[in-house]
């Protein structure tokens, strides 16, 4: 694996002989990877093709849901159900074990959401999602209604007991990936337009405060602030120019992992949660780290 090293501390994250392998290709727009420890498989979406897929080692890829309304980011809840940022469907929805789909959020204060982009779940069962407007104007991601109704692109929280989404951040230009620190005291959110990552302190009521810029993307190669993940050491992983940026808990760039295609998102997984899966426009890659990632339920 080709790594552009910016700090020697990256040696504690990736071994010098780490490899990057492509495990799936032929996608129109890969996104939404999440590892299912129960099934030992990787869920991911082909956004433009409108498919929720499952990759199982040794078995390959199968389509789980189609059409999906151009589903985007995904995570799992504590019951192992896939929760999806619905993007062009303008909803956040859950894939039930019986195969049905349940809408968790579709409006804020009576107006349709923009296009939910990525989603994560906290240990208290609350759900956080970003709602940028990209699905309303990016070619080939057309949904049923392309009109934007909200004057901002927010980050929302769905309480553990359900109900209307609560707006927790409203001043980012294009909130995209999001992740909690290992102890869930911090919330990281990437802003695609501003090409940076913001960090917020999470309050007891689930709201956030004291937002500040955490990291400004380095480089001018193809790639954007899109997906975001964290390892158990608190290092932050962001897609960006050249591939994947590994950033220390203090906001210092440790390295950029070169990926042959433009990256969209990542997921930790595998038996020991040390496998980093990376989705790109057309493929899914994986590499192995020396540290483990933050587990998904």
């Amino acid at each position: 694996m080709d790594i552009e090293i910016h700090d020697a501390a990256i040696g504690k994250v990736f071994a010098p002989d780490a490899t990057l392998a492509r495990i799936v290709t032929g996608l129109e727009f890969g996104e939404g990877p999440v590892w299912d420890k129960r099934r030992q498989c990787l869920y991911f979406v082909d956004n433009i093709a409108g498919k929720l897929c499952r990759w199982t080692p040794g078995l390959g890829v199968e389509i789980v849901v189609s059409p999906t309304g151009h589903a985007n980011g995904a995570t799992l809840d504590r019951e192992g159900r896939v929760i999806v940022a619905g993007w062009s469907s303008r909803t956040v929805w859950r894939f039930e074990h019986d195969g049905s789909l349940v809408t968790l959020a579709s409006h804020f204060e009576g107006r349709k959401l923009n296009t939910p982009n990525d989603v994560i779940m906290r240990s208290d069962n609350s759900i956080y999602f970003t709602d940028s407007d990209g699905g309303l104007f990016i070619p080939a991601m057309d949904g049923e209604d392309l009109q934007r109704y909200l004057d901002f692109s927010g980050v929302y929280r769905i309480p553990a007991d359900g109900g209307e989404p609560q707006l927790v951040i409203r001043d980012l230009a294009f909130p995209n990936g999001l992740a909690f620190s290992p102890d869930e005291s911090l919330l990281y959110v990437s802003d695609t337009w501003q090409k940076d990552i913001w960090v917020y302190e999470v309050q007891a009521d689930g709201g956030v405060r004291n937002g500040r810029q955490f990291y400004k993307l380095h480089g001018h190669e193809p790639g954007h602030a899109d997906g975001l993940k964290v390892d158990t050491q608190g290092n932050v992983y962001s897609t960006g120019p050249l591939g994947v940026h590994v950033v220390s808990p203090g906001g210092k760039l440790l390295a950029r992992i070169k990926v042959p295609e433009e990256c969209t998102n990542m997921a930790w997984g595998g038996d020991d949660w040390r496998t980093l899966f990376i989705t790109t426009f057309h493929s899914v890659y994986r590499t192995h780290a020396l540290v483990s990632g933050v587990e998904v339920w």
């Binding site: 104007f137 070619p139 049923e144």
Partner: protein, 279 residues
Amino acid sequence: MAAWTFERVAGPYQGALCGVAWTGSDVLFCAETEGRILRFMTASKNVEDFRRYAPRISGIALGPGGELYGCQEGSRRVVEYLRDGSTVVTATRLDGRLHNFPRDLVVDRAGRIWFADPHSPVLALGPQIYSTLDHASVLIAARARNHTWFLRRVTYDTVAPRSVALSADEKTLFVAEAGGPDGRRSELRAYPIQGDAEVGQHTVLHTFSTDHRGVQRGIEGMCLMPMAILSPVPVSANAAPVHASTCSRPPEPCWSRTTFRTICRYDARSRGPTSTASM
């Protein structure tokens, strides 16, 4: 040679103004950079937002039932703005491939959308996933019997179609073909419409040339004048281009579409001494 006078009725706005359409009582026009469609109300002379969040909106046109369609150039699609405030896409793929950057359109009496689909030096919005078509043509979006939209290619000899218009009897398709760095001149072409939206060989009605201001830019938009005479669009140089009127059978006055940041009204009855453009 009649003198033209222009009266600014709205603007200026950020960037160039693009599509314009006459509703029968008001004028809709597009502020592309601001992503807005605005309405100039002739009775009150007020301007209001007609539709916000219309990214990179270029040409707009009304259908026979008052339907409003628009070219969302940066999103590579033609959309319909519904009366309930929503926006829906028409057809985006020609033979399975995403079409180019629709720029201008006209709707015939059957409700079919004829649109110019050139390539663009400006990238599409969002990630660059899809290549463009290997041609830049005039396309038609039409509804199948199940009301779904489909696309059909109309022209096979265009390189950079920029604007389209139909004659009053809908037997002629006018196409503004842009020039290029390879020495191609901008042209105004007339294609005879044969059969079901197929066209024959075109006639060149006007070729734009070079004058002391440089290479004439050609046509940006056009429409028919009340007496079914195509409003030519000649006054366009490299500097401050003024383009075709865009009034579909209005009584009068006639509305001028410009690449200025304002929208102007041309009043044929009061040809005053101030001439900002001439025909």
